[in-house]
Assembly symmetry: D2
Homo-oligomer: 98 residues x 4
């Protein structure tokens, strides 16, 4: 099952600057060989369900290992069986309607 | 790794009534033997990361099998390494401060 | 416009215990006279759009005033024009399908 | 109070293609004079709290007017009092750590 997710990892208990933790998650996603795109409030990721969710789990492990005692992540998770659609398709599809 | 999630599965392309799909997800979670609690805009689930995420994947599979061509799910995912905390602990902890 | 939201306020930069901030938000919502129900990963609130959103804003103001320098909130926001539906209706509707 | 949000509007009961509704929301945000950036699973918006939230409400009104009987939106809402930070600052801050 193919999935497009939007991931936002929020480490708690490590002060107000969280960018180094988000950067570590970007590394995790890249090493997993997944297509992704960072934006100002999360990261779009696309791939096979199991690969994407394994990367999300690895993000939690890595952020805890970096010293964050608590993490509150939000995920949007999109799947469809009617057709295949990439992250780029979704953006292009909206822009074409404007 | 222990996790508490809040899951909200939104089937798209099956009309406005989504309760039968949410009920099917409740069955999936129960059959997985996970602690959970339904509320008006999602379901709290607690358990081992892999067990909880396997149930979330199974929800997508079941909802697609029921005929939904598209699903947009939102998940909040909480982990902590400083101490163990159940869903009930979290609610009690807030109520004790009021 | 009537709305049902699910609100989860995460204060950042104040350590790992966030329950006193969540309790303060519960007070804000109650003082606003809104129907609400706390769960383990957020709070369901129902009411008129403007009243609910004013309470959400007030939560941010109060949590900042308590000393949190940064807040990352997640909201699910549901509206419908086909019929009226309360928070209790939503839960009952799912349970009736099981 | 300055806010950065990530908005994802999901119309329910109008079939599987939702891009025209998302495009209409992009128009609403642009007409409101707000800085924003569309991505594959939502839209980043920055501005004054009241202006941004008025645009979110207007999106619901417009999408209902287009015929969607039900909408389930997710919002991430970030505020901070320690310093000002734009959407571009957030992305740059993460990329600088990699």
């Amino acid at each position: 099952m193919k999935v497009i997710v939007d991931l936002c990892v929020v480490p708690i208990g490590v002060g107000t600057s969280v960018s180094s933790y988000v950067a570590a998650c970007s590394d995790v996603i890249e090493k997993a060989g997944l297509s992704s795109k960072l934006h100002a409030y999360g990261t779009n990721i696309e791939g096979d369900w199991d690969d994407v969710m394994a990367a999300v789990k690895r993000c939690h492990e890595v952020v805890h290992d970096m010293g964050a005692p608590r993490i509150s992540t939000t995920l949007r998770v999109g799947t469809r069986t009617d057709r295949t659609q990439t992250m780029e398709d979704k953006v292009r599809s909206v822009e074409a309607k404007r």
